[in-house]
């Protein structure tokens, strides 16, 4: 028995806490037990790199209209049946053509292309944790900001450590129903809620995205409960994005989310007291604009990822002087 136990390791990064005998990989596909050590296969091995508008993350309350240097590695610790990036998130890293891009190169490229921030995105930054952390530290030293785009399925200790270097996060709250998390995403709701609260406590600028899937998580009751929880635990200033689903991966049988469902969700969120509520993946809708919670005038007028008008000056509404939640310069 002791011989068997000797080389078993338990990953403590995410709540799945995979127990691995030698020569086996974790559920995320990127951590392997080799010789009794847990080895990450994706440190500095980038499978996707782009310069995006920061609005694409979506981050609406930090440096609007700026480019963000965005990177990803293979793998994910969830397996959402609707994943938009499943070709890179649901495969082992050795099956992709990766580019060797250590933290120094990431930061250097971000600066060269005039990006004031770096996003760890597309797949799941939790599973390339060590790479995110080292890059984020170096980015900070070079005056750049760091943005996580995450499902928030991570244990408390590594998250608190990472938050020291993270400026903003868009965290998915995929549903307010644990059964949905377990059956559709292979995760667990309570861990995601914990991660949201921890990020708030650690001073990360937090935005939340809720992808609405027709028939699966689109009930008004669930939306209202979720909004109440956000107001109570994260604060009414927390930006909330209701995102439109398009058929993808293992959810090709569902139809795209009707716009009226998204608009109704936005109404509910505003009724519950949230101040900044957006509808996403519906280009051209006024529901993706930022409004002053005090005087109700338009603060930021958007069209897709473009900024058409910005009426926030020194972090305040140009019209009434209300302080607006976010990092604006």
């Amino acid at each position: 028995m002791s011989l068997l136990k000797k080389k078993i390791v338990q990953c403590k990064l995410c709540p799945k806490e995979c127990r691995l005998i030698e020569g086996r990989r974790g559920d995320c596909r990127v951590r392997v037990n080799i010789g009794g050590k847990l080895i990450t296969l994706v440190y500095g091995k980038v499978c996707a790199v782009h310069i995006d508008p920061i609005e694409k993350k979506p981050i609406f309350h930090m440096l609007p209209g700026t480019p963000i240097f965005s990177i990803a590695t293979a793998g994910c610790n969830l397996h959402c049946k609707f994943c938009q990036n499943w070709e890179i998130s649901q495969v082992p890293p050795e099956k992709l053509n990766n580019t060797d891009m250590p933290p120094e190169t990431v930061v250097s490229l971000a600066k060269r292309y005039g990006c004031p921030s770096i996003a760890y995105t597309y797949t799941e930054p939790v599973i390339f944790y060590e790479f995110v952390r080292d890059t984020a530290i170096l980015a900070r030293e070079n005056g750049l900001r760091n943005v996580l785009v995450t499902a928030g399925f991570i244990n408390e200790k590594p998250l608190r450590e990472l938050c020291r270097y993270v400026d903003a996060s868009n965290t998915d709250l995929k549903s307010f129903n644990d059964e949905y998390y377990r059956k559709i995403c292979y995760g667990r709701l309570r861990d995601v809620l914990n991660a949201l609260v921890i990020q708030k406590e650690e001073g990360v600028l937090l935005e939340v995205t809720n992808l609405i899937l027709p028939t699966l998580n689109d009930s008004e009751k669930e939306t209202r409960e979720m909004c109440r929880w956000i107001v109570r635990n994260l604060g009414s200033e927390t930006p909330l994005h209701f995102s439109r689903f398009y058929p993808m991966f293992k959810m090709l049988h569902l139809y795209p989310t009707p716009e009226k469902t998204l608009e109704r969700a936005r109404e509910i969120a505003l009724e519950e007291g949230l101040k900044f509520v957006y509808v996403g993946n519906v280009p051209g809708t006024p529901s993706e604009w930022t409004y002053c919670p005090s005087c109700k005038r338009v603060l930021i007028r958007r069209s897709g990822y473009a900024i058409l008008e910005n009426n926030i000056i020194n972090g305040r509404c140009k019209f009434c002087g209300e302080v607006i939640y976010g990092v604006w310069s």
Partner: protein
């Protein structure tokens, strides 16, 4: 107890221990959230080609039976 009976008991205990070890390993494999077997030599080759890294992870520990996962 004669010699044959003694050897039979010892043999039986050895067989029980052997199957217990195998079933324990199987339990650990099946109860782990991950567990896909990898070809370590192939991974090392991929690492030499620059396709994957071989960096030690930050958050893990030797497995203890008292730590149960989800």
């Amino acid at each position: 107890m004669n010699r044959k009976e003694f050897l039979g008991i010892i043999g039986g205990m050895w067989i029980l221990g052997f199957f217990s070890a195998i079933s324990q390993e199987r339990f650990i494999e099946e109860s782990s959230s991950g567990g896909e077997r990898v070809d370590i030599d192939e991974l090392k080759k991929k690492a030499e080609e620059g396709q994957v890294s071989m960096k030690e992870a930050m958050f893990y520990e030797p497995f203890e039976e008292k730590n149960r996962s989800m």
